[in-house]
Symmetry: C2
Subunit: 419 residues, 2 copies
């Protein structure tokens, strides 16, 4: 892509372009941060209001049945399942990604404790999302096990040995956008007798995922990024059907009980994935999540995740190439993989010192990306609503920020970063 008119032509030829109409996007905003918080689906405003006023306000307690609140975690889960290669009844929307991770790590370790007690390690990467490492660190410490971290993806195969209980990876790295080969790594882990847990936070709704086909054991993921579920939307959790009747996890709340309203003493886990539910789900947030998931499912008649993926790669490649060609000599280095097969739905660059200020200067111009400490400028591409002209204009703004030195404005100085 070498010109605005070329970008316009690409948009005109884009069969997915009408999907953008599903969203309320502020006029003039170029939003390249759907990997952090997806934009508002128009349906969500209406739906949430309906839940608040009619289901809560009028239906009150009866809405647990009459409005289907009881089934919501499973109903939304079944929809997400279609986006990640899972079947109905295998996935539920619940809690946060961190809490769900705790559940599946516990379940996986419990399986291994029974089957292979000598396996005492969780293997992951140092570059994994910190909260994943915190949870794994806490759990392994609690159980006298250990968490072993690879410094590079290339080191992973060597760590898959007879000591490894579980390989825990995030499919697409939140900083670099590098994507693992889920099938190959799962196969390698299984060959070594280990189970696998995949964090799909930056994958679900962004890249094709085939949980069943890849042979994965467990997965968790996030509702508020590429699934457009709204701020702090509930997360999701999946277990392979072969583990479904067996696994056990300690967050044994009543919603995961086989018969929650019998109020019987003694926990009896629900069959299958419902045993991963714990407490009462936040219905308002869950209803918004369903609207978000529906925006991705709306792509199914247009080619689904494969079509979204093709557009996503075209967007991120166009952006990264333009930045490289037009912003040379400003110290930006591309870190997201050039190989399409290894890249998620984002483009990341490093700058040794001024990444934060550059991102702030862009935001001031209405181009929203984000900064990830210590040095990453991150730009996400949600093919449902991002246009090729957005890419063109975003780079145009970046060029001006750099050439005019706008990032030197004291307003953009790095303080404690929160977003």
């Amino acid at each position: 892509m070498h010109s605005l008119s070329e970008a316009q032509s690409l948009d005109a030829a884009d069969a997915l372009a009408p999907l953008r109409q599903q969203f309320d996007i502020p006029a003039g905003l170029i939003y390249l941060d759907g990997n952090s918080l997806g934009v508002l689906p128009s349906s969500a405003a209406t739906r949430v209001q309906q839940v608040v006023q009619h289901e809560w306000g009028t239906g009150l307690i009866g809405s647990w049945n009459s409005a289907g609140w009881m089934d919501l975690p499973q109903r939304v889960g079944d929809k997400i399942a279609r986006l990640v290669g899972a079947g109905p009844g295998e996935l539920v929307a619940a809690d946060s990604t961190s809490v769900n991770l705790f559940k599946v790590l516990s379940a996986a370790l419990n399986i291994q404790r029974a089957d292979a007690p000598g396996r005492t390690r969780i293997v992951s990467e140092r570059s994994n999302f910190p909260t994943d490492l915190y949870i794994a660190e806490a759990l392994t410490a609690e159980r006298g096990l250990s968490l072993v971290l690879a410094d590079t993806p290339e080191q992973l195969p060597d760590l898959l040995d007879e000591r490894c209980a579980l390989l825990m990876l995030t499919h697409v790295n939140y900083r670099s956008g590098r994507m693992h080969d889920m099938a190959a790594l799962t196969q390698a882990a299984h060959a070594a007798g280990a189970l696998t847990m995949w964090d799909l936070a930056h994958s679900a709704g962004a890249v094709p995922v085939d949980l069943r086909g890849s042979g994965a054991d467990f997965a968790v993921g996030c509702g508020y990024k590429f699934l457009n579920g709204g701020p702090g939307a509930p997360a999701f959790v999946w277990a392979a059907p072969r583990h479904a009747g067996r696994f056990w996890q300690p967050l044994a709340g009543w919603m995961g009980h086989a018969a929650p309203f019998e109020f019987t003493p003694g926990y009896r886990p629900a069959p299958g994935i419902r045993r991963y539910l714990c407490g009462t789900p936040p219905v308002l947030s869950l209803a918004a999540l369903e609207c978000g998931v529906d925006t991705v499912l709306a792509a199914e008649p247009l080619g689904g995740m494969a079509a979204l993926r093709a557009k996503s790669l075209a967007l991120s490649e166009a952006f990264a190439s333009l930045v490289e060609s037009r912003c040379a000599d400003h110290g930006l280095a591309r870190v997201s993989p050039r190989e399409a097969g290894q890249r998620g739905s984002q483009a990341s660059f490093t700058h040794p010192t001024q990444g934060y200020a550059m991102v702030q200067a862009l935001i001031a111009r209405g181009v929203v990306g984000d900064f990830r400490a210590p040095d990453i400028l991150r730009f996400g591409f949600t093919p449902l609503y991002t246009r090729f002209v957005d890419v063109w204009h975003a780079v145009e703004h970046l060029v001006q920020v750099l050439e005019r030195g706008e990032w030197q404005d004291p307003r953009f100085e790095q303080r404690a970063a929160v977003t």
Copy 2:
């Protein structure tokens, strides 16, 4: 209360009566189930719409700072703290009651493991809310500890011995409405070297609670009952300030980290209660919870929890007395305590066989209570919006249901109960 006109006089003299105007209550409905799901505060519909359309839709990722989403768990927590005798910075709104219970049980057991490793029991009651027992059962099983259950409150003191690590109780029993003496039991537990954990699900917003004054160690509670926070609203968790810098729990998610956005490896818990946060909070549900909590705080200028308590007791006593006097010979037996000091904000009756059908017949008449297996008819009184005339009419309806045998309608037959 012996007549409708007396009920009308009580309402006319009720200084709290204007607080009902804070809510959208369906016309003609007599809602005695605020102990299961509180009614909709009018402000919540507006507020949630604002969060969806302006904060999410327009502010997008920037709203984590500009709209104060980052501070929401603490801000709402500080408000709830005022209702339960806790100070600012001691309580956060987060996750579900079940998940929070797991956190504090873990923290309490970790403290005891360090201080008194010989203490291997959690003591509770068989009549405690099942999910509390499930979580305790799971955690003690995981750690090779044991959960010991008293069959009656009178047995509790004997179980507070050198083996007891933690006394875990629900302050107001969900079925009977019986309320424990928090200060006395906490003192007895401490005298025996045990810590205490109080579940305030049926207390917060319903009865005065003095966490600090009673010397309690940990507490959790529910946002969607008497706090009117909406279906599945986030729960809350409190730790006594003396434990605040010390306790540790394994749900070590990034929002509980001292500096979540530094993305550093190695979990470093935030100072104080923030370390009880785990994943990203469900903002829509949390915003609605704040509106619900505000409806209770609105009583502060009118006497606060003490005034609400006086009205609550008058309501539940009026209801229970009327049922006893007007529904004699129909097999209903009062189970909620007659002594005001031992009663929460509800009135419960047993019926040996037809409780479910009676509740359904009442609901068909627009009087909403609920049934709790195996045999409890439960009626909750939220003094913010329940009127004395509601009590009068509710009993009038019950009398007719019983005298006309309306519960025999096959529509009301018990199947798998969900609400």
